[in-house]
């Protein structure tokens, strides 16, 4: 068994952020193992993605370009990756732990009766084994986990690894045929509505979040304005989502998203343990809250005790001045 593979998720001809991080992490692992790094490029009309993968530092590209792969469907992508792994026995297969990356690594590991470790936040090469650090129990504990035999499937949490950078490298991809024909794929995609707001919570380096203190749907207006000035994503606590003030996809915390930005600005969020579960690994946490006893101040580095409707617009104004 030899070689490190990384699945390169792409959308509209672009390599998505979490895959750039996975390529960077996989490159490091491959170098430490002294083995080549192969990028897996699946999709339709993806020759430019293969070129971009070489530029980001992979040594080889194993690709499959077919209309049946235009949308990610596990019945198409799973058997394709499975057959390639069976045929060529890589030592490691890595992917970003996106919704699709998690499904792909999990499904293929089950198919091949292999070991899989999801959501890595740190990697250590120990002989031939990749020791993976991952959070458990809502991030209250960490565990070091590894696959004991066979191909090691590993997915990586977003923003835990730096993105691979352009190297100027070029190369020739190897293209293989799909293994499942369209009429043998039971799932049909009948619609896709892309997310309205640009920055995804899990990719964002800054998040401005609102909670019960925003008081209503219109209370998110100053939060959105600050987010816009900072190029940040908008988050929310469960209380705000359950009240119907903002859609669920913005929810940070136990039954929402787990995020890890450089800066997390919590506005009118008390900081219930369920919320902390989703944001405790943020690098710097700022809390803005009327209540000086709010638990969020125990987690934050910086706090302003005050009315968010006064503090947030003033903050927006100050950033606007400094960043212009």
């Amino acid at each position: 068994m030899s070689g490190v593979w990384v699945w390169i998720e792409n959308r509209d001809g672009e390599i998505i952020t979490i895959s750039r991080e996975a390529i960077g992490a996989a490159r490091k692992v491959a170098d430490e193992l002294g083995q080549p790094l192969t990028g897996l490029v699946f999709g339709h009309n993806v020759s430019a993605v293969a070129d971009a993968a070489f530029d980001l530092g992979v040594d080889a590209v194993l690709g499959c370009d077919d209309e049946s792969l235009a949308n990610f469907r596990i019945e198409a992508y799973g058997p394709l990756l499975s057959s390639l792994v069976q045929e060529r026995s890589p030592a490691v297969v890595m992917a970003g732990a996106s919704t699709r990356g998690r499904d792909l690594t999990g499904w293929v590991a089950a198919d091949l009766d292999a070991g899989v470790v999801p959501d890595g936040i740190a990697l250590e090469v120990d002989g031939d084994t990749i020791k993976v650090t991952r959070p458990v129990y809502a991030g209250k504990l960490l565990s070091t986990v590894y696959v004991t035999e066979g191909t090691q499937f590993i997915s990586l949490r977003s923003r835990a690894f730096p993105q691979a950078e352009s190297t100027g490298k070029t190369g020739q991809a190897e293209w293989v045929s799909p293994v499942v024909s369209e009429d043998a794929i039971p799932t049909k995609v009948v619609g896709f509505a892309p997310k309205e707001e640009g920055i995804s919570l899990t990719d964002a380096s800054i998040i401005v979040s609102g909670g019960r203190g925003v008081g209503g749907p219109e209370g998110f207006a100053p939060i959105r304005e600050l987010a816009e000035v900072l190029g940040a994503a908008v988050g929310a606590s469960r209380a705000a989502v359950d009240a119907g003030w903002i859609p669920y996809e913005h929810q940070v915390g136990q039954t929402g998203k787990t995020v890890s930005p450089d800066l997390y600005i919590a506005c009118g969020i008390s900081g219930a343990i369920q919320h902390q579960a989703g944001m405790r690994t943020s690098k710097v946490i700022v809390a803005i809250n009327k209540d000086p006893e709010a638990p969020i101040f125990k987690l934050a580095q910086y706090g302003i005790v005050g009315d968010l409707f006064e503090v947030v617009p003033a903050l927006t104004e100050e950033f606007r001045k400094r960043l212009s």
Binding site: D113, V116, P135, V136, K140, L141, S200, Y302, G303, V311
Partner: protein, 266 residues
Amino acid sequence: MKVVVCTKQTPSTTAVFTVDANGHVSWDDPGGKPNIVNPWDEYAIEEAIRLKENHGATDAIALTVGSEESKDALKTCLAMGCTEAILVSDSAFDGSDTVGTARVLAAAINKIGDVQIAVFGNRAIDGDTGLTPVQVARKLGWTPLTYVSAIKEISNGQITVERLLDDGKETVTAPLPVVISVVKEINEPRYPSFMGIRKANRATIPVWTAADLEVDGATGAEAAKVNWGHVYAPPPREGSVEIIEGETIEEKVRKLVDKLFEEKVI
């Protein structure tokens, strides 16, 4: 059409963990209820009950792999409205990796028979792998539909669902049987009724062991290809909060912005 909801008992949200010198994890809860139904599963249980109420499922069966104590979680399922609950418990399954657990769940779903939809919560808050739904689907040979935020239609042996992905909402159609995993947006779970709680307390929950199941492949720690090894508490966040003081709001935000530029997070 039978529906199965696979659920798991987990430490409570507010549980406080201790790791001893041997890496053994234990927990206690300041509120006195150390174990709960996995919070994501509440949406799965609700959806299974709705499939019975609105889509003609004959049964909504709750299924758990775990220790005898997990019966508490199954009683919650019955109290909410599940028609039946089954515990799968055998020391032979202890230490299984996710693929091993998937084999056990697939075997139990096969034994129940005539199941058209197996519903899961998106992930469990303890191991937090989110792998079980897709791996059970593979072991059953069924289509996995993960991150489901709405069931749009079930007719003529086809199911149409909306999936909440990182970059948007995808609508897909697939033939039954399927495994679905659900996210919070799908519904608002009901509270158990008083009658439901009384019924659940009287119910006897059957326990299936390895001998009752035809598990395809090995289970338990010996067969696991993942070593869940070493568990430890992360280093605590350093320092305490610095409350920014100032005469005016403008002064406070100016000081805060200075700090954030110093931290290099802008």
